[in-house]
Amino acid sequence: MAPTLPSNDQASDQDNWDNGRLARKRQLLTEIVLRNRLTALVVDGDTTCRVLEQLLLRSYGVQTQGVDNGRDAVAFIASGVKFDLIIIDMILPVLNGLEATRQIRDMGVHCKMLGVTVCSGESERQAFLAAGVDVFIEKPLDPEHLVPILRELDGQLFVESGPLVMYW
């Protein structure tokens, strides 16, 4: 039920409110339309962060799995499950993110890995990149960083599968 609108001021406020919400949604949706079903593994020991990152990916149509420690991440990959994207924190329970990344790379896994972490120092950045992540992102993970990466991954799959799908 819409609120009553006794004055002109309120009428434009209401329009702003509804249009704002619609515009905001359109902005989020039209930022990217993926043609392929991408898959991602999110490795983060903190529930809030992991849930948020998975939901952000899902809002772009990416199918996601989440694990909360480094050892389970390595085991998951070792079992043969393939992902287009791995998002991994640096500090993790059981097995830390640096070591988990190294082990995943040592298995010959070449997929895109994003190190998404709270640590923001240059030495941490270098260490994570040296361990094998492709991109180092300071938390929180946001669309500005994520969208270009998803577009790139989607584009690579497009090239592999052939030019039958129209890009729009």
Binding site: M1, P3, G20, K25, T48, C49, T117, C119
Partner: protein, 165 residues
């Protein structure tokens, strides 16, 4: 109170949280992820954050209460709190964690104890603010109204990228 008034009250309250630095642009991201398929998303994530944080604050209090403080453990807890607070946009909690971590590195007991108090204070403040805000939203929805969005111009005046066109 009629719905229009409640909506205006909510908008003013929400704006004040951003202006006073309790919340940052990341919180807007959360709101944008809420839609018909995830209608209670913000409430759920915020509740998750409260549960996680309270546990972390308890762990931190215990860790700093030991005769021989394990600073690595303390740092790991603060790291986690920094991560979750930055992920939901609880800016002042995040900033308090930044200072906390630097004193952990120095193994400074007195300073870290002071930081813990600071973090706790910021946490309880933002918890209170968020609960008030969410309660206002619930009242509006219960009265049949919709949750208003804040006009894009506001974000420009406080110089935040969350509301870009």
């Amino acid at each position: 109170m009629e719905v229009g008034q409640m909506q205006r009250r909510l908008v003013d309250y929400t704006k004040s949280l951003f202006m006073e630095g309790f919340l940052d642009a990341q919180f807007l991201q959360l709101q944008q992820l809420q839609d018909e398929s995830n209608p209670d998303f913000v409430v759920e994530v915020v509740s998750l954050f409260f549960d996680d944080s309270e546990k972390l604050l308890n762990d931190l209090t215990m860790a700093l209460d030991q005769p021989n403080v394990d600073f690595k453990k303390v740092d790991a807890h603060v790291h986690q709190l920094k991560g979750s607070s930055s992920s939901i946009g609880a800016q002042r909690v995040k900033n308090a964690c930044i200072a906390f971590r630097s004193f952990c590195e120095e193994h400074n007991i007195d300073a870290t104890l002071r930081c813990l108090q600071q973090v706790k204070q910021e946490y309880y403040l933002v918890k209170n603010k968020l609960e008030t805000m969410l309660r206002l939203e619930q009242q509006i929805v219960a009265a049949g109204g919709s949750i208003p969005m804040i006009e894009l111009g506001f974000w420009r005046t406080i110089n935040m990228k969350g509301g870009k066109e």
